[in-house]
Subunit: 222 residues, 2 copies
């Protein structure tokens, strides 16, 4: 398989397909067509075939995809069969929530260390992790084989933390700070905007007829 | 415009289109075709036309969409021209991070009140919000016209909080607790799994050839 530059939105959709295939596999369903799979995730069949097509030939024309085979292939492509060590930088409200977040481990993501620049926070413990001084980051990245850094510091400090992560050899950064980070090309940054999780609500709130909802808009202008 | 049941993934993509149109509008670009818009968000033109088609006729065949017109229409459809009041329930690490999260307000979402069942947390202040006793929730929902409730309590308490929100008349719930909530049909629940924000990293980490990255997998089996 030759490695091409795959659009990120395709990668995101592969994770969606994988979740769907995992559900189907649990139900002991064996095969699925691209249009059936697309319908389950509300994409047309051409999009499904295009996304999967980046990675070679899956499925047999006319009989669809073998669900377990496609699931295993996607897990391998997406690195879901491996585990990765994660460091959290910033031990404030959000940082401490992320250190103790129960959902990471089941996705092969282990928070193994955390840092803060504030001496009052150093030495504090959150769910088995003791906060280290920020200066210890480079050493820890090497010793603990950190693959992913999570930035949970205020916006004004985020670039400095990113620089330190990059210099230490971390190439994947999850950024919760509301600022755009400048990093070298080989480093991948995902920015998290928690308001995205709320945004679809406004559609449901302005369409009360969909469910008999009451219109609770506070004002028509924000 | 007749109101039809629109797939949620379509709604999510409308927000993606809207963000793209806002960027284009800032650059003073006036029109865009469905295939150009699709290309920018990595969807094919048929998908773009299908998604927009739910809401009537946009654009003129051959000359594409008027960007400002489509942007205004989507803002109205999606309720982005309104503001909504939000309550946070649970004032632990995550709850307090959400109460003070700076990104909500710019999306028309105002956290106006917060609750906890723990007497040690009641009365604490986070960014101008004083934590109220959980029992005050129904009254506050009415008085403060709460449209959205954010659940940031442990999984074992989440259903009880959801019941209280629903009983008080809240119909949009953002759930951070790792549990499936049971709610009436007219109530919309969005579940947040923060590990989703990290999941695409594993693909980049297992494809070091994409960028000369070092393979830092801790183990091949999780």
């Amino acid at each position: 398989m030759s490695i091409k530059k795959i659009p990120e939105s395709t990668i995101s959709r592969l994770f969606v397909y994988l979740r769907e295939l995992s559900e189907l596999s649990k139900l002991n369903i064996r095969t699925i067509s691209s249009s059936e799979l697309g319908e389950r995730v509300n994409l047309n069949d051409a999009q499904v075939r295009k996304d999967l097509g980046y990675f070679g030939q899956f499925g047999i024309s006319g009989s669809g995809y073998d669900i377990n085979e496609l699931k295993a292939a996607l897990e391998k492509i997406l690195g879901k069969d491996k585990t990765w060590n994660v460091a959290v930088i910033g031990a404030g409200h959000l940082g401490s929530a992320l250190i103790t977040y129960p959902g990471f481990q089941q996705h092969g993501l282990n928070v193994v260390t955390a840092f803060d620049a504030d001496v009052k926070k150093i030495g504090k413990r959150f769910g088995g992790i003791t906060i280290q001084p920020a200066g210890e980051l480079p050493k820890a990245v090497k010793e603990k084989k950190i693959a992913i850094g999570i930035i949970a510091v205020p916006a004004k400090d985020a670039q400095e933390v990113a620089n330190s992560l990059v210099k230490s050899g971390v190439e994947c950064i999850l950024n919760f700070a509301p600022t755009v980070l400048s990093v070298p090309e080989n480093v991948k940054v995902n920015n998290v905007d928690l308001s995205r999780a709320l945004e679809t609500f406004s559609y449901f709130l302005v369409n009360p007829a969909l469910s008999g909802r009451v219109n609770k808009a506070v004002s028509g202008k924000k």
